[in-house]
């Protein structure tokens, strides 16, 4: 096993994995900086996982695989989209490959399974997955989230629905797991604070061949907010349209109307209003370059999964610039990461709160058909949105984490 010896040498740079040190002194400048990508390349969640890999690869190609003068090596690991796989693969990246930072994972239940392990190992992780409490009540000093918490966009969606669209009665529908609960609770809280009422909450399981039994239960409402993810939005919106429901406007979280999904959607998506932290249509040089390179290298329109990893890579690059390309001092490097603030990312300005979660713009988009193609056109931008919305961190954190039952839905019919 020749790779093991090479790894053993690399291990010398990382404190805390002393067990494997064979004794050769490591030369920091000569060793490449290693990024471990925790993604999903097989199974039902592969779609988003492949996009994550394309995003970070695009950044590395643009930079010639060099951050702050130091060579960067990408090690990609396939979790298969399940928690046990995520745990094993994280251990592979940290203990075998000695990566300096991990990007990923994709799914909230993967991140939940990793939380304690990352805390124990102290390798910084830039998550795409939501699982809010990891940057809230159970803050993990080594986990950051440059994408968004589940509710970060849905708070905005609730505000827009109540104040701008003047909807009064809403139904919510999302998958029956943490990401769905947190999104819909965020929507409900802000929507009801704005004077609206959530009168129906529906929770189909992650794997649902046919959404009709759920859609049929949506009663008399002004709008339906949905938080589906993966390939489910495609199925859901078709069933919604087929049942003649398009008379009730559809609102969507960022995964439910991700730009990368547009090519899989048809007319059923026209008119859907969504709140997202990234939009391929954003008009900035860095985003235009990103979209052009993604089209050139991978022939895709990027959505949040790709952009999230691209931006995570930019944050890592910025931290390396601050430390002068050094990452041997894990603690210092982690500090540098958490202090990063960037102006030029595909999503716009990015900074982090003290809990490690991003503060950035959230856009309201309306899906339209332009020249035969579906486009999410930005209609309004909420600047510098925090994971705590306007509630303030202290007050926000005094409440329990968003769940199926919190905040309680008092207006159900």
């Amino acid at each position: 096993m020749p790779r093991v010896t090479r790894r053993a040498v690399l291990a010398g740079t990382a404190a805390g994995t002393a067990a494997a040190v064979i004794g050769m002194p490591a030369i920091a400048q000569a060793t490449p900086f290693k990024i471990g990508l925790l993604t999903v390349k097989t199974g039902p969640l592969a779609q988003g996982g492949i996009q994550m890999e394309q995003g970070i690869m695009t950044l590395l190609k643009q930079r010639g695989s060099t951050f702050a003068g130091r060579k960067v090596e990408l090690v990609s690991a396939d979790t298969g989209g399940n928690p046990a796989g995520a745990k094993t693969k994280a251990s592979e990246l940290i203990e075998r490959d000695n990566v300096d930072v991990i990007l990923g994972p994709l799914a909230a239940f993967e991140l939940l399974a990793l939380n304690d392990y990352i805390r124990q190992k102290g390798t910084p992780l830039m998550s795409l997955a939501a699982a809010e409490d990891v940057t809230q009540r159970q803050t993990n000093p080594f986990i950051m989230r440059p994408s968004a918490t589940s509710a970060q966009c849905c708070h905005v969606l609730g505000d827009y629905a109540a104040k701008e669209l003047k909807y009064r009665r809403a139904a919510t529908i999302s998958e029956d797991f943490a990401f769905g609960y947190e999104q819909m609770s965020g929507f409900q809280r802000v929507f009801e604070d704005g004077g609206g009422k959530v009168v129906k909450k529906l929770w189909p399981p992650l794997v649902t061949p046919d959404y009709t039994p759920y859609i049929a239960q949506i009663g008399n409402v002004d709008c339906v907010a949905n938080g589906f993810a993966g390939s489910n939005p495609v199925k859901f919106m078709r069933a919604y349209a087929d049942l003649g429901m398009k008379r009730i406007p559809l609102l969507a979280g960022w995964t439910a109307m991700d730009d990368a999904l547009l090519k899989s959607l048809g007319d059923e998506a026209v008119g859907v209003v969504s709140a997202a932290w990234y939009s391929a249509s954003l008009d900035s040089p860095v985003n235009k370059q990103f979209v052009a390179d993604m089209a050139k290298d991978h022939n895709v329109l990027p959505g949040g999964y790709s952009a999230g990893m691209y931006i995570a890579g930019q944050v890592v690059e910025a931290a390396l610039q601050k430390t002068g390309g050094k990452s041997d001092d894990k603690k210092a490097f982690n500090e540098a990461l958490r202090g990063v603030s960037l102006q030029d990312t595909p999503r716009g300005p990015v900074k982090f709160d003290k809990y490690g979660n991003v503060v950035g713009d959230v856009h309201i988009r309306r899906c339209e058909r332009k020249g035969g193609q579906l486009v999410n056109t930005i209609v309004k931008t909420y600047p510098d949105v925090s994971q705590f919305w306007t509630y303030g961190d202290q007050a926000f954190l005094a409440n329990p984490v968003y769940s199926r039952d919190y905040p309680p839905a008092k207006n159900l019919e």
Binding site: T42, G43, P44, L45, A46, Q47, G48, G49, I50, D176, W203, P204, P205, V207, T208, P209, D210, T212, P213, Y214, A216, Q217, G230, S231, V234, K235, R238, A239, D242, L243, G244, M245, A260, L261, K263, S264, L265, G266
Partner: protein
């Protein structure tokens, strides 16, 4: 009230799709006693063939039948060259069919990527029927109609043709069938191909509303299993009744008892297995 009506209509639609999926499984299982764990894979593969053909502008029905034929060819080859040699050996059959399920799943991911594909509902089948202020998607009713047509065609084939007579003989008593000179091996290849074709056809029919995505194979496989066990292996009537029972249990279970939806789905299968192992309409195999 409107909820229950919508659910009932939808149950028939889903039941129709399940019949298309599971009738082939029932024939394979009943005649050959093979636990074909790649039946869901045939469904998914057929659906992918179908969306590719549709993407090229092929007519919907031509695409559905074309996907069926392509998948039948693949199924036939697997039966002829590999499964054939494992007759009566359940464990190697499990290993082989699961092995192919892994391979087909991975090939689909490689060829069609992880993106969901959802072909447009064919224009003349799209839209909704409006009755008393309720919308029923026309396409669900079309699936039901197609399932009925296929059921009748299969029934005619099994009950009225020479091929059917051989299949029945094979299901009822394989050793005797062999003794009276039925060339069981050719029959097996034919039936296995037919089962694969039906699953693939079902995949294309389902694509406009289920969409096609990685993992669809193992979502459909358990549904085919419970339908066939409920109805009785090798019985087309059983598959038909089983499909509609599951269609109704799925729809009403999800709506009324979401927490126990899957218990409701699988419990009848367990009861039938324990109390009437041959299934509701199956014959006791001696």
């Amino acid at each position: 009230m409107s909820l229950w009506l919508t659910l009932a209509v939808n149950s028939f639609g889903l039941g129709g799709l399940l019949f298309l999926l599971s009738s082939g499984f029932s024939l394979i299982f009943g005649l050959m006693r093979i636990p074909n764990l790649m039946h869901g894979s045939f469904f998914m593969l057929g659906a992918y063939f179908g969306v590719t053909l549709l993407d090229r502008g092929v007519n919907f029905w031509v695409a559905a039948i074309g996907a069926g034929l392509l998948t039948a060819l693949i199924g036939g080859l697997i039966e002829r060259f590999l499964l054939r040699r494992l007759e009566g050996q359940v464990l190697p059959q499990v290993l082989l069919t699961l092995g192919f399920a892994f391979i087909i799943g991975d090939v689909c991911l490689m060829v069609w990527t992880g993106d969901p594909w959802q072909p447009a509902t064919p224009a003349h089948l799209a839209g909704a029927v409006q009755v008393a202020g309720l919308f029923f998607p026309l396409y669900r009713l079309v699936i039901l109609a197609v399932a009925v047509v296929v059921a009748i065609a299969l029934w005619i084939m099994v009950d009225w043709t020479r091929l059917g007579a051989m299949i029945r003989a094979g299901v009822d008593d394989p050793p005797i069938a062999r003794v009276v000179g039925i060339r069981v091996s050719q029959l097996f290849t034919l039936v296995f191909s037919l089962g694969a074709a039906l699953a693939a056809f079902a995949g294309v029919m389902g694509a406009p509303y289920l969409s096609v995505y990685p993992g669809l194979d193992f979502e459909m496989l358990p549904l085919a299993l419970i339908v066939v066990i409920l109805g009785g292996t090798g019985s087309l009537l059983g598959a038909l009744v089983g499909s509609f029972i599951i269609g109704f249990l799925y729809n009403f279970g999800q709506a009324m008892f979401p927490d126990l939806a899957y218990v409701i789905l699988f419990l009848p299968m367990l009861l039938v297995l324990v109390l009437r192992p041959q299934g509701l309409f199956g014959k006791v195999v001696t």
